[in-house]
Each structure stands twice: as structure tokens, then as C-alpha cells.
């Protein structure tokens, strides 16, 4: 069974729209991460968290908010979506933050 799930798998919105991407992990891991993947840029870290209520800033946080409501659930919020946020978004979890990360299947977001 998939230990990291993401929803939706695909999302299309318009410029200025509100989007929430969801991630759930059943690994009982403490750390969760949100990345975006773009051609030529690899995986770029947006936000991460080491537990419910905690949030750490990543390398490309502008335009994104995130919230960790429980150990299992981590949400990425785009409150005023822009075309530059069109990307493939991955969530990941890990037990000890700097070692093996387990990735979800990704959400493809298109902002028109």
C-alpha cells in the first residue's frame, strides 16, 4: 500500500485562484516535505515540517503557504495562483529528516 498519497493528482486553475494540495503519509514519520519539480531545475524544496503545527521555510517559498495539521497530513496552499506556479508537486516524508525520503506520486498543477 502506498505510504504517501497526494490529492488531487491533477489540477487546473486560473490566475488568481485558490488551490490546496493535500498530502497524507502512513509511515508514522516525523518529517514531511513539499517540493516542486520543473525541467532543468530538479527538485526544489518549498516548505517542510517536523511535526504537527511546525513549519520550516524551504528554498522557494514565495507564493506558497503550508500547514501541518497532524502527523499524517501536510497541506500546500496557493492563495493567488500564478502561471509561474505551473509545475509538478511532490510530497515526501522521512523518519529522520536528512536521510531516506519517501515520495508521493505527485500532483500536476496547471495555472492558466
Amino acid at each position: 500500500e502506498a505510504a504517501v498519497t497526494q490529492s488531487p493528482r491533477n489540477k487546473v486553475t486560473v490566475t488568481g485562484g485558490n488551490v490546496t494540495l493535500s498530502c497524507r503519509q502512513t509511515n508514522s514519520h516525523n518529517y514531511m516535505y513539499w517540493y516542486r519539480q520543473d525541467t532543468g531545475h530538479g527538485l526544489r524544496l518549498i516548505h517542510y515540517s517536523y511535526g504537527a503545527g511546525n513549519l520550516q521555510i524551504g528554498d522557494v517559498p514565495d507564493g506558497y503557504k503550508a500547514t501541518r495539521t497532524t502527523q499524517e497530513d501536510f497541506f500546500l496552499l496557493l492563495e493567488l495562483a500564478s502561471p509561474s506556479q505551473t509545475s509538478l508537486y511532490f510530497c515526501a516524508s522521512s523518519d529522520v529528516g536528512a536521510y531516506e525520503q519517501y515520495f508521493g506520486p505527485g500532483t500536476r498543477l496547471t495555472v492558466l
Binding site: 532543468g40 517542510y48 536528512a98 536521510y99 525520503q101
Partner: protein, 112 residues
């Protein structure tokens, strides 16, 4: 400043050949170096990893080499198979800051 540099961006090899991917890094505090493999439509998954106390680690057809003095690492795939066609990411971590820094990835195509 990019923490981990990876080359080449793309690579095509013939079935049965040897694939070599390389990475370099700057931060001398990095001590953990994983390689992730990503198939189309999926999230990345850990392929092989090495700690800075070692200079070589093998797992079947996959071997990763680490050169601490030159701050370089490489991934060798012997007897490359069409099923190895994927994007490969090298990464690095210091362990203490609970995050991994990824390279931009190499898209590998193995032709039959």
C-alpha cells in the same frame, strides 16, 4: 547557489553498456549522499546511498563512488537495461539540518 551540481543533463546509452553519472558539491559538512531514481509518472525513490566514511557502495548493477577530497560522487550502472531508463537525482545532506539538497537530475535513455 546550487549546493549539488549534476551532469550530464541527459544521456543515451545502448543496452549492455555502462552508464556513468556524476555530481559535485561544495559544502564540506555533507556526509550522506543518496541517489534517487524516478520513472515517468512516479515520485522519486531511493536507489542507493553512501556515507562519507566510505568510498564505494555496490547494489547489484549499481555502484556509487565517493571522493571526499575532490567533493565528487558518481553512479555507475553496468549492463544497462531499457528498464533503467529514468531520471536520476544525486543528493547530499549534512544530517543536522533535516533536509536533502538535490541535483537537477539526469534523464537516462537506454536503447535496445
Amino acid at each position: 547557489q546550487q549546493q549539488v551540481r549534476q551532469s550530464p543533463q541527459s544521456l543515451t546509452v545502448w543496452e549492455g553498456g555502462t552508464t556513468v553519472l556524476t555530481c559535485s558539491y561544495e559544502d564540506s559538512t555533507f556526509n550522506y549522499f543518496p541517489w534517487y531514481q524516478q520513472f515517468p509518472g512516479e515520485g522519486p525513490a531511493l536507489l542507493i546511498s553512501i556515507l562519507s566514511v566510505s568510498d564505494k557502495k555496490e547494489d547489484g548493477r549499481f555502484t556509487t563512488f565517493f571522493n571526499k577530497r575532490e567533493k565528487k560522487l558518481s553512479l555507475h550502472i553496468i549492463d544497462s537495461q531499457p528498464g533503467d531508463s529514468a531520471t536520476y537525482f544525486c543528493a547530499a545532506s549534512a544530517g543536522s539540518n533535516n533536509r536533502i539538497f538535490f541535483g537537477d537530475g539526469t534523464q537516462l535513455v537506454v536503447k535496445p
